[in-house]
């Protein structure tokens, strides 16, 4: 058995940097603190890291076939847990996403990620699965849809959105890119509508494009009708953006979208997070203020500075160079995971590997995107960095199951 040490080194680098930055984020010069102090987040994070190493050991002891074999069983169990959380869970930060075990709390939704990944991979890897089969596709979407609904019931929109990253896995496994293209187009239209206050310009340009397409292409009735219907749908979507923003989204979500478009609308109110986060990162300059020398994060100007906004500490204290290192490590890890996935001999392992990559990527993109003001504020952690046991353990399990599968890749029969 040979574990992939490149991945392990990247993992250890990220976890260690995360731990240092958690200490920096909460550091109070006047209090004479120690990074080891268990009453501080940094001390507890170290415990979580130690526990995750135990988890890594356990994952490696267990037979590799265990994960595929019991994927559906785990999936069933986690659905039960997710269903129960709103009833037996305790409320933390407005979300009822925690189950208390003694003084510790765990977040079942963090574990739902790797379990869903296992279930998705198992289904994709099952005999007779065809991506172009509508029934197969429907079941796949159900596998990711059910946890999304249950998690959304806990009002944890961020984690629920993570499951959309599986669409990228489906794409890799053969799903038509149509859904992705439609999704990207819809997102583009949504953002354009928010950015351009006068929607007449948008409607006008759609009309212009429609006329051009009709004039330049073949003059078949069928084609013209399809183009006109398409244009009408897009115009309808533009008209519905306001409705969606104002009626479907909750007030705090509306604000987050509005702040993204114009962070200055209310810098002390709804724009506070984004504004302060950008100030913290922006003030770091090229080489940063130095470890423990940041002022914005440790003086609480940035909210949630050790969890969702941990990247601010990196930006402030280590500057652009530090950001480059961290982003570089993440991209390297993602590419390494893709590399590992592609060398798997089973479709299950490959689909699982892509799930790992896509889940990590989604967190990475959304989290950093939100701290630098490229994305609305969605409360999801930066993998391996953010403070918190459940999220660290969830990501560790996610990654190390892949490493376990990879270590035994030669033992499986090629089925692809």
């Amino acid at each position: 058995m040979r574990l992939d040490w490149t991945t392990i080194l990247l993992f250890m680098a990220l976890v260690t940097l995360g731990w240092l930055n958690i200490f920096a984020a909460i550091y109070d010069e006047t209090a004479n603190q120690s990074i080891w102090d268990l009453s501080l987040s940094s001390g507890r994070q170290l415990m979580f890291i130690a526990a995750s190493l135990v988890i890594v050991a356990v994952i490696n002891i267990i037979d590799m076939r265990f994960y595929e074999t019991f994927a559906y069983l785990f999936f069933g169990l986690i659905l039960v847990f997710l269903f129960l959380v709103p009833f037996i869970g305790k409320e933390v930060g407005g979300n009822k996403a925690w189950i208390g075990i003694g003084s510790f709390g765990v977040q079942p939704s963090e574990f739902a990620k790797f379990i869903t990944a296992l279930a998705v991979a198992k289904y994709i890897g099952s005999v007779g699965f065809r991506m172009d089969n509508f029934r197969n596709q429907a079941i796949l979407f159900a596998i990711i849809g059910i946890p999304v609904i249950l998690i959304q019931l806990q009002k944890d929109t961020g984690t629920a959105l993570v499951f959309t990253s599986f669409i990228l896995v489906f794409y890799r496994e053969g799903m038509s890119p149509f859904l992705l293209i439609v999704g990207i187009c819809a997102a583009a239209i949504f953002i354009l509508t928010l950015l351009i206050p006068n929607q007449l310009y948008l409607h006008g340009s759609i009309l212009l494009i429609l006329i051009l397409l009709i004039a330049l292409g073949k003059k078949k009735i069928r084609r013209i009708v399809i183009l006109v219907i398409g244009a009408l749908i897009i115009s309808g979507m533009i008209e519905s953006v306001d409705y969606v923003v104002n009626n479907v989204l909750k007030p705090h979500q509306q604000n987050r979208v509005k702040v993204l478009v114009n962070p200055d609308i209310d810098p002390l109110g709804v724009g506070w997070n984004v504004t302060q986060s950008k100030i913290a990162i922006g003030s770091g300059g090229f080489i940063g203020k130095g470890f423990l020398k940041g002022t914005q994060t440790k003086f609480d100007f940035v909210p949630k500075q050790s969890t969702d906004f941990i990247f601010c500490t990196i930006g402030e204290e280590f500057g652009w160079i530090g950001s480059l290192v961290v982003i570089g490590l993440f991209v390297a890890l993602l590419l390494r995971v893709i590399f590992l996935s592609e060398r798997q001999k089973s479709r299950f392992a490959r689909a699982y590997g892509y799930s790992v990559a896509c889940i990590l990527f989604f967190h990475f993109a959304i989290n950093i995107g939100m701290t630098v003001g490229l994305f609305p504020v969605i409360g999801i952690p930066l993998p391996f960095f953010s403070y918190g046991g459940s999220s660290l353990w969830g990501f560790t399990i996610l990654l190390f199951i892949l490493l376990k599968l990879d270590a035994h890749r030669s033992q499986v029969l090629q089925r692809i």
């Binding site: 890799r172 914005q296 003086f299 609480d300 590419l335």
Partner: protein, 604 residues
């Protein structure tokens, strides 16, 4: 079918990473805005105000010092179990007033529920003593101390000036950026003239603060902090006892007393009447009192010794005599008839020599003197002749410090007026003028204007037999200062010092036998003086007297102006002699004269 999809996924991953790095490069490296915002977020600039310099008199007696003043501040978040009834009784407020105080506080620009905000400003000492021990009953309320000016005397208000919040205009004129809105600055008087020395240097501390505004230690271990440096103390040449006595004598009168030590130019007393107590323009009642004082029709803020311009009157005859002697147009023995055809005169004398003419203040004599001086026959044209003569006359008169500011160390000094040829050109609209047009300047009437400090300086010149030091209040700056070089310099007149003996003789005669009469005389010391009665129709004349004493090695030179008080020999001569007596002996023995002055009925 799935070919290239791996690369597309990889491409997306790398692309997102690159987008982040570009965006980060923009906000971290290219845009300085965020660094500045971060500093204004977390760095608190705290100004430390230095103590303002103290002011003492010539004997080291304290005149102006600093006294702590107490503001009551509140941190609203920390207010607990607030007993409003108890609070009202301790602070002597009604419920409505208390409610108003809270409203007022919350309206303040700097108001924050987590930072101390002004609640009651400038508690009096009594209030402070009363509430100090009970403050712990009201958590969330704090006392903040700062200093204001305090005075050991009710005198000297105009000379000292006052300190108050600087105005918008002053803030705009401050091109060095020293002041901020809300700072205090010396307004008028010594406080203004020596503002730069008195104010000291402010210190700045940079402190880190968290999002709640709570301090979290010093910025970079205080590397950018500066300590405040207290202002320098000023030692004046004023004699506080003499000053207070002068103000007592001037009580209820309009006018001024200026007393100078001739040998040094140090101002011993500078009285302006009417005046006010300097304590009124300090502390919590400043604004009420200021509007009262500045609206007073008697103008107590008008610093008469420096700003009131009067015609010099008969005293000017001494300067005329000196000038004529220097020009050689007369000798001490020159006699001129008291011819009253052009100008009136007092009865009882005729055809006197120079000393007699000064002692009796003979108007026709000095008319003749001026004629000889202005019309020397240098030119055949009487107009041109007068012009040349007047220019020479100007040179001498100006050397006595008339016609321009002396340069005393106080603001708002006036220079008076000595008419020059170009002045008369303007006055006569370039039509020709000659001696017969301008002769009233001969006896100190006409266009001449002088200020009282110039007249005191004139007395000092005669006392010194020909020179003066620029009159000044401040002897030196700092604890072990040296005399300021500007004031150590002797300014000589254009008159030969031997001629001054005649002036001294004449002034002695004025006091002993002439118009000065008995009120100016002292038993053990020879006082030299000269009366002046400045016409002020239709009101009674201003009473003027200049004097110095003792005759030899003089210790004090003085000018006294009492407005609308008639003859110089009465009000002004009495006050001047009392001041001299007080200064030389430390007390006065002539109760009758003092009572006469204090009663103030000079016209009866």
């Amino acid at each position: 079918m799935n070919e290239g999809r791996r690369e597309i996924v990889q491409f997306v991953f790398v692309l997102v990473g690159l987008i982040f790095l570009v965006k980060l490069f923009f906000i971290q490296v290219l845009d300085n805005k965020y660094a500045e915002l971060a500093d204004s977020n977390a760095i608190l600039r705290q100004v430390e105000y230095p103590f303002r310099g103290l002011i003492t008199d010539r004997h080291g007696k304290l005149i102006v010092y600093n006294t702590p003043e107490y503001d009551l501040t509140a941190i609203v978040k920390d207010i607990k179990d607030f007993d409003s009834a108890r609070f009202c009784s301790v602070f002597n407020l009604s419920r409505e007033e208390l409610r108003a105080k809270f409203k007022e506080m919350k309206r303040r620009k700097e108001y924050s529920s987590v930072k101390p905000t002004l609640f009651i400003d400038q508690l009096s000492n009594e209030d402070f003593a009363k509430v100090q021990d009970r403050l712990d009953e009201f958590p969330g309320f704090y006392i903040e101390a700062r200093t204001t000016r305090a005075y050991t005397t009710n005198a000297l208000a105009n000379a000292l000036g006052y300190v108050s919040e600087l105005s918008k205009g002053q803030l705009e004129r401050d091109d060095k950026g020293f002041y901020k809105q809300g700072d205090y600055i010396g307004q008028t008087g010594i406080e203004s003239f020596y503002e730069e020395q008195l104010r000291g240097k402010r210190g700045v501390r940079f402190k880190l603060r968290n999002v709640k505004g709570i301090e979290k230690g010093s910025f970079k271990d205080g590397a950018y902090d500066t300590l405040s440096i207290p202002g320098q103390d000023l030692v004046t040449g004023l004699d506080l006892d003499l000053q207070q006595y002068g103000e007592l004598l001037m009580k209820g009168k309009s006018g001024s007393i200026a007393a100078i030590e001739p040998a040094t130019g140090e101002v011993l007393a500078l009285v302006s009447g009417p005046s006010y107590s300097p304590s009124l323009l300090t502390g919590r009642n400043y604004s009420t009192n200021f509007s009262l004082i500045s609206n007073d029709t008697l103008k107590p803020l008008f610093n008469r010794p420096l700003m009131a311009q009067y015609r010099p009157g008969s005293i000017f005859k001494i300067a005329q005599a000196m000038t004529a002697l220097q020009e050689g147009v007369i000798t001490p023995e020159t006699r001129i008839r008291c011819d009253k055809t052009l100008i009136g005169c007092h009865p009882g004398h005729d055809n006197q020599d120079l000393r007699g003419a000064i002692a009796n203040s003979c108007n026709p004599y000095f008319l003749g003197v001026l004629r000889r001086m202005l019309n020397k026959g240098v030119s055949n044209s009487p107009f041109e002749d007068t012009r040349i003569g007047l220019a020479e006359w100007n040179k001498h008169i100006n050397s006595f410090g008339f016609g321009s500011k002396l340069g005393i160390d106080l603001p708002n000094e006036k220079g008076g007026l000595i008419p020059t040829p170009s002045y008369y050109d303007r006055a006569y609209d370039n039509r020709p003028w000659k001696f017969s047009n301008i002769y009233s300047i001969a006896i100190g009437e006409g266009e001449n204007l002088v200020v009282p400090i110039q007249m005191a300086n004139f007395a000092a010149i005669i006392a010194n037999r020909g020179f003066y030091h620029i009159p000044h209040l401040v002897k030196w700056i700092g604890k072990e200062g040296k005399p300021l070089p500007k004031y150590a310099e002797r300014h000589y007149t254009t008159i030969d010092s031997s001629y001054f003996k005649i002036a001294v003789d004449a002034m002695q005669q004025v006091v002993e036998t002439g118009t000065g009469q008995y009120r100016a005389r002292l038993v053990d010391v020879i006082v030299c003086g000269k009366t002046g009665t400045v016409q002020n129709d239709p009101l009674p004349a201003h009473s003027v007297f200049i004097a110095f004493a003792p005759r030899d090695n003089p210790k004090i030179a003085i000018s006294v102006y009492v407005e609308d008080a008639g003859q110089g020999a009465r009000a002004a001569a009495s006050i001047a002699s009392l001041m001299i007596e007080k200064y030389l002996y430390g007390k006065t023995k002539r109760q009758v004269i003092e009572d006469y002055v204090l009663a103030g009925k000079f016209l009866d």
